[in-house]
């Protein structure tokens, strides 16, 4: 292997990327753009739930309840219903997700020390939001009732719940680090999926394979510029996460950089292997997209907990690089995980990178046909 040849190829690739607006956009704009789009689209927090209230009690107690509900930040009262039919109309049309119906003897029951009834109807067509909304309301109603009746003796159980790693339970905190990993898995493969295919399509490969250049030189020479770009992308994404989205980065930046490098080697190599096999840019980019996006999204533990999956799927996740990189980024961001806790991930990513490099070298032939 000759360093000068690798350098010649790397320089050539960089010039070509610089001159191609589309490559530039994909290399530098797409990752941050995706981060913004997904960060805002995928939020598991439920805010400002549209709520319709049907108050038949008209007491100070019921009005107080409604007032506190509105100021809690979780509910926005969009309509004070005057008849029960309004609730149906609002839920059916989607103008409200939650309906709260207060019976006429609500205040009387509370003052008399009886259990007061409160009817809550939740739009279950979005079951995730419904479950979260239900939790909020129950917690809210419970604490409201307690405050009204005043503390009478100690409660039977005093559960003191503490949430670790994400004490504010902000979904953004665990979504964004995972999102960075998922986006980079896709971007890495997409970036390199064009490299070999473009040379075949443009005919420049015929000249290149007539020279004494060696396959590992070609693969490395093409890998290096994209490695630098992808590393820059990760840096910008991490910076965006910590500054604009305020996600705390608790672990070691150095460790994140090292493990990111491990991952990028395999991630970029995967795109290259696809490019080498298909020899066509369009097919290569589409395969790279499908082959990385779906597993990264569904099977990496980013969206769905791996422990909840059926066993065969759990086994499948073990060969998906995204799973390991998602664990690395999330772990370093939220848990301050040291290398000690990420040995398996580090090993897998390193082995995967070497494996892909070998495959790329084996699959590329300096021959036509």
């Amino acid at each position: 292997m000759r360093i000068l040849r690798i350098k010649a190829i790397a320089v050539k690739e960089l010039i070509q990327i610089r001159r191609d607006p589309l490559s530039l956009a994909m290399a530098f704009l797409m990752p941050v753009m995706l981060l913004f789009i997904f960060a805002y689209a995928i939020t598991l927090d439920v805010n400002q739930l549209t709520t319709v209230v049907y108050d038949r009690d008209h007491s100070s107690v019921s009005r107080g309840l409604i007032g506190e509900l509105g100021s809690s930040g979780y509910f926005t009262v969009v309509r004070h219903a005057t008849k029960h039919g309004d609730i149906d109309a609002y839920l059916d049309s989607g103008k409200a997700r939650v309906a709260i119906s207060i019976p006429s003897d609500f205040a009387k029951d509370i003052h008399a020390g009886r259990t007061a009834q409160l009817q809550i109807i939740v739009d279950g067509s979005d079951s995730n939001t419904a479950a979260i909304a239900l939790g909020y309301i129950q917690a809210f109603a419970g604490s409201y009732a307690q405050r009204l009746s005043g503390q009478k003796g100690p409660p039977a159980v005093d559960a003191r719940v503490r949430v670790w790693y994400n004490s504010e339970l902000k979904s953004r905190y665990f979504i964004i680090p995972g999102l960075i990993a998922v986006i980079m898995v896709v971007i890495a493969a997409l970036l390199t999926s064009l490299t070999f295919a473009r040379e075949w399509e443009r005919g420049t490969m015929e000249q290149l394979i007539s020279t004494p250049v060696k396959t590992p030189e070609l693969v490395l020479g093409k890998l290096i510029p994209y490695f630098l770009i992808a590393f820059f992308d990760v840096s910008i994404s991490v910076l965006t996460a910590t500054t604009l989205f305020g996600v705390p980065l608790r672990g070691s930046i150095f460790l994140l950089a090292v493990l990111t490098s491990f991952f990028l080697f395999g991630g970029l190599g995967l795109g290259m292997v696809i490019s080498i096999i298909t020899k066509a840019q369009l097919v290569a980019s589409q395969i790279a997209m499908v082959a990385t996006f779906l597993p990264a999204f569904l099977l990496s533990g980013f969206m769905f907990a791996i422990s909840n999956m059926p066993v065969p799927l759990q086994v499948l996740t073990r060969i998906i690089p995204a799973r390991y990189y998602v664990t690395v980024v999330k772990g370093i961001f939220l848990k301050e995980s040291g290398l000690r806790f990420l040995v398996v991930e580090a090993l897998f990513l390193a082995v995967f990178g070497i494996f892909i490099f070998i495959v790329a070298n084996k699959k590329f032939k300096k021959k036509i046909v």
Binding site: I9, G203, E206, S210, P212, K366, K367
Partner: protein, 306 residues
């Protein structure tokens, strides 16, 4: 044999049921300009790709620069320069960037790099276009730049696949002047073309048709050996009247400058007959000579016969 640069025996390449190259055997001496002629689709590119180690032969053996074309194709790639039929430099790179890239790929020694770059720029007449995007260069310049990039490392054997196709006549002539220069300096040049007028520039030729070699030799040998018919040149005072007189007697001829040319089966019997016809018509004949046919005549005849 130390003076042989390229040697192949019974080289064959099939693509599915189609035989692109069929039992081709040839030898190219060191320092020769070897022309590989044939119409489009005759198997020229397939042959040259096999010689350059870009394509595996289905059958047959061969060596290029002493290296086996099957087992040592990577060694061959260190010895040769190759210019493919389709322009295959990077058109989104500038002239200098392309030269620098291939300089790096061919591992041109650092101390030689600048001199070689300047040499290519001078040779291709691109000194004032160093920073022009290759995409925007006119065809002739592109061709010379491609040649320059293929010989940056001063290869011993140079393969050129239709280097002059689609280039204007002046550029073609200049291009051949460059090939001569390289050949004089000791480089073996293996060049394919479908321009028959370029055949005369070559030291030796092989004519390939439908995958098979149908003739081989120097341009003169081919003219003498393979032309079964003779060409007569008839010098007369009044060529137009002479043409008329011959045509009336059923003898085909054509005006060539101030003389007539006629393709005949045998010159020695046809010449007196022509003289008699013309003298009977009252036209004085200055001379009737058998002349060498052009290579184009030869190739057309050969292809018709095969």
């Amino acid at each position: 044999m130390p003076d042989i640069a390229v040697k192949v025996d019974a080289l064959t390449r099939t693509f599915g049921g189609f035989t692109a190259v069929d039992n081709v055997s040839l030898k190219v001496g060191k320092g020769e300009i070897f022309g590989f002629l044939g119409p489009n689709g005759a198997g020229k590119s397939t042959t040259i790709r096999m010689l350059c180690g870009l394509l595996m032969p289905t059958r047959g053996t061969g060596t290029v620069g002493g290296y086996d074309i099957v087992a040592q194709s990577e060694k061959i790639k260190q010895t040769i320069g190759y210019m493919s039929q389709k322009f295959s430099l990077y058109d989104d790179l500038t002239v200098t960037e392309n030269i620098n890239f291939f300089s790096g790929i061919y591992s041109v020694p650092e101390e030689k790099k600048i001199a070689r770059r300047q040499w290519v720029l001078d040779m291709a007449d691109l000194t004032d276009r160093e920073h022009t995007l290759t995409r925007t260069l006119p065809g002739g310049y592109k061709q010379r730049l491609a040649l320059g990039c293929a010989i940056l490392h001063e290869p011993r054997i140079l393969f050129l696949d239709e280097p002059t196709s689609g280039v204007d006549p002046v550029s073609r002539r200049n291009f051949w002047a460059l090939i001569y220069e390289l050949s004089t300096a000791g480089t073996t040049v293996f060049v394919t073309t479908h321009y028959m007028d370029e055949a005369d520039y070559c030291d030796r030729l092989a004519l390939i048709y439908r995958g098979k070699i149908i003739a081989e030799g120097s341009p003169n040998e081919l003219r003498l050996k393979h032309m079964s018919k003779d060409v007569l040149e008839i010098e007369v005072d009044k060529p137009v009247e002479a043409l008329d007189a011959l045509n009336k007697q059923g003898k085909e001829s054509a005006i060539f400058g101030s003389a007539l040319h006629a393709v005949v089966d045998r010159a020695d019997t046809a010449a007196p007959e022509f003289r008699r016809i013309l003298e009977q018509a009252g036209i004085s004949v200055r001379a009737i000579d058998k002349i060498a046919p052009s290579l184009e005549d030869v190739f057309v005849t050969l292809i018709e016969e095969s």
